[in-house]
Amino acid sequence: MTFSTHHQRKTLYRCGFVQLATLAVVAIAMVSQPVRAGGGTIVVKGVTIHVGNGEVIDNGVVVIRDGRIAQVGANLAIPPGAKVIELSGGSLTPGLIDANAALEPTNRMMVDRRNARQVVADLFHGDHKDHKHEAVGCCGSKCSRQLQHASGEKCKQCGFPDTLPMAVGVRRSAMTVEHSSEVIPQTHVIDSVNLRSPDFDRLVGGGVTTVFVAPDSAAVISSQGAIVRTAGPLNARIVRETDAVMAAMGTDPSWRGFGNRQPCRQFVNFYNRRPTTRMGVAWVFRKAMYDTERFEKGAVVYGADAPTEPAMKELRHVLSGEIPLRIQARMQHDILAALRLADEFGLKFTLIEATEAHRCLDELKKAKTPVVYGPVYIDAPGMRRYSSEVDHARLHTLKELLRAGIPTALTANELRDEDGLARQAMYARRFGVSLADVTRCVTETPAKLLGIADEVGTVTSGKRADLVLWNGEPFDGSSKPIVVIAGGEIVVDRRKG
């Protein structure tokens, strides 16, 4: 996965828009920050280094200089004047990388938690803000079928959950997905990313230093994601403004967000559209790609599901492979559908979530499809619990994927803090993955999948000093990140208390 010319061109084109401005802006912010010992040398010594590629260095020493890893090895000499971090019994891993993190786009609604149900209702039915809490019912007055489903279930028509879901999920689908079309690769998740969001603090507190900000799965061909650092000066946070287009198989595109529906006893609007079924999903995907191919040849595209012109301009680059493609699929037949569609248009893609990957290992292996697997669960977290796609979740899927030799990264998606990526790795260990393998799944492999492996992902001299120091074996129940170093700066320090 190389950094294509397309991206460079795009970045130049858009640099004025967000990035340069951010640069200028945050340059100011940087100046105002207290000058830390950034220029100085930091040495971490006396720890077990889990390099990330499977190697382990006992009693290791890491020398960090100018934000980079200068030296790694056992029992190295400590340069004079260096700031020494020593932790007996501790261990060191590269900063964790979540290859499919769902960010909370803004922290705005956290404040409204007490009234969360109303907020959710507002988001689902934008013009009914004057409803009383109770009057919203299961899906607001817009839904004519609200009496037709039992309490505790989501409304079959608009997807509004009867019980308040985890706010994370709702915020995601309501704010990071453009609902006006099912094919929206021209939208960029980075526009929704609030670099000042406390979400980043939570991520970095859990040892995650780089994330791929995942687009939501509420559209068949959704937005372009971004690669973002979770700590460090704001002007250097964005690694790649746009990275990959995400598509989704299964039922998510039909019910998430405002939900598609059939035109029945209500106003006709643009939610009366495909897909409302799995077949519809495949159709919309296929038509988008087909239309793009025709559009490139100068033909006129038409039809109810035809993608918009800006969308096709982006899809062109997806078809030519310049923009990487990710497809989220959970169930076995969705994974197979993704493989089939990709084969049809000669696309290479990364499989996301892959809850039932253990049931189609051979096909994945044959197609050489890398996987970003996760999260591991028995009872599905977040909005997934309203999906019917989680019944066959198993605990050994990651083990099986690795055994089959499929390059697999592990993700925690929207889970944070103690529930975050480190815990996912902890689960993986419990369910049969070795420490070396699981370390690779959250460091080196995602770095390779995201094409940033020459910069981060292992504890190797020359790479960016994104490191996590644990007060025990990494990914163990009784250890947690004690010190997190990002770009040579200590950004989390829990050594006192």
Partner: protein
């Protein structure tokens, strides 16, 4: 020496006044269009209160500012003893006098909309505005669209009683909406990323010359922009997208841009804050002060007619209560508001050459116990407390 000095001033004053009185058209209703106004103190362009006391008017403009003097010919001179003259207040976040709805919701990019088209000069909002000392208002199309249209700036009173006066600008700043209020569930965009993708393509088209003329002139830096934002993130986005193209940028946001103070200080943008009310949190109420002390131009808004006419002064008073410098607060409701509306060459300060839009308060305009004694627009008295005995302090009926 002091005596001499004062004498010379007095002589000068008498001379000027005499000249003005004799030369000009001595109107039959000199009460309504005085030649000079004598007050105790007045609000200077830098927001402080100075003790110059005579303001002479000529052809609806301010002719000169003079220290106190005995005026020989007292015809056509309005006396307000103990009063403070203030530039007419300006509300930059209002929809007053806009007849009907100002949401043109069919398209989210609609630069051709002009607020002036729904301006109703006979609307009773204007009388209420005048009574509370507001002499000019910016009328904006509702910011529920990405590009909502052009603002108008009008005077709230004029020669005929109870009617709004002249239009200062009919092609005012272009309004852009950011944040959730521009997302609707029934038309694009429905989300932040959708809105940004749309705005990117619109601005791209404007730069390449294939968009509406207003957007084109904005993209080439010839038009002001007024950006309505919902949260701090919107402010950042707005500043970086439209803000760096427009000739002058005003950002409307009230609650929490503390994080962006430095970013804002690096630009010439005006922050429009308010309205404030007593029920707001301390964090919100102290924002105007924080922004002002960071060197950012702050204009305060009263949101007539949603809030009452008192709202503008109350906002300024609360801003001062929560840390804003009082001189800056006075500027924020006069000259800075005029800058945001793009009319600072005509209104917003008591300075020779400016329009004679004056409010005579019984005390400091920031004090809530000061009341409006008289309002002059274009040198004509459009309101006098003597003739409105039912009026309570602050101009509220």
């Amino acid at each position: 020496m002091p005596f001499l000095h004062r004498t010379s001033h007095m002589l000068l004053a008498v001379a000027v006044i005499a000249g003005a009185l004799s030369g000009a058209v001595l109107a039959q209703h000199s009460q309504h269009a005085p030649k000079a106004i004598v007050v105790d103190r007045y609000v200077t362009p830098d927001g402080t209160i100075s003790d110059k006391r005579i303001i002479t008017l000529s052809n609806g403009k301010i002719a000169a500012l003079l220290p106190h003097a005995e005026i020989a010919d007292k015809t056509g001179v309005a006396y307000y003893s103990g009063a403070v003259a203030c530039p007419g207040l300006i509300d930059v976040r209002s929809s007053m006098g806009a007849y009907g709805n100002t949401v043109e919701s069919a398209f989210s990019v609609d630069p051709s909309v002009s607020a002036i088209d729904s301006f109703d000069p006979d609307h009773r909002d204007f009388r209420r505005a005048v009574e509370s000392g507001i002499t000019a208002a910016l009328i904006a199309p509702s910011p529920t669209n990405l590009v909502a249209g052009a603002c108008a700036v009008v005077k709230t009173g004029g020669a005929s009683t109870g009617r709004a006066g002249s239009v200062l600008r009919d092609d005012g700043p272009l309004v852009f909406g950011f944040g959730p209020r521009t997302w609707r569930y029934d038309r694009a965009p429905t989300s932040r990323i959708g809105a940004m993708a749309m705005l990117r393509s619109v601005l791209g088209e404007a730069k390449s010359g294939s968009q509406h003329a207003r957007l084109q002139s904005l993209a080439s830096g010839k038009l002001d922009a007024m950006l309505y934002c919902s949260d701090a993130m919107d402010v950042g986005t707005a500043l970086r997208s439209v803000g760096k193209l427009a000739a002058h940028t005003s950002i409307i946001h009230t609650s929490d841009v503390y994080d962006l103070t430095e970013e804002l200080a690096g630009t010439k943008a005006t922050m429009i804050v308010g309205p404030y009310s007593f029920s707001m949190s301390q964090r919100t109420l102290s924002m105007a002060g924080v922004l002002a002390s960071a060197g950012i131009d702050v204009a305060l808004a009263g949101q007539m007619p949603t809030r009452g006419g008192h709202s503008l002064r109350q906002t300024a008073a609360l801003a001062v209560r929560y840390g804003m410098d009082s001189a800056k607060a006075r500027q924020a409701i006069t000259i800075n508001a005029a800058k945001a509306a793009g009319v600072s060459d005509r209104v917003g300060a008591i300075r020779p050459g400016m329009d004679a839009d004056l409010v005579i308060f019984s005390g400091d305009p920031l004090r809530m116990d000061s009341r409006v004694l008289a309002v002059y627009i274009d040198g004509i008295r459009v309101y006098s407390a003597d003739q409105h005995l039912t009026m309570s302090a602050g101009g509220q009926r």
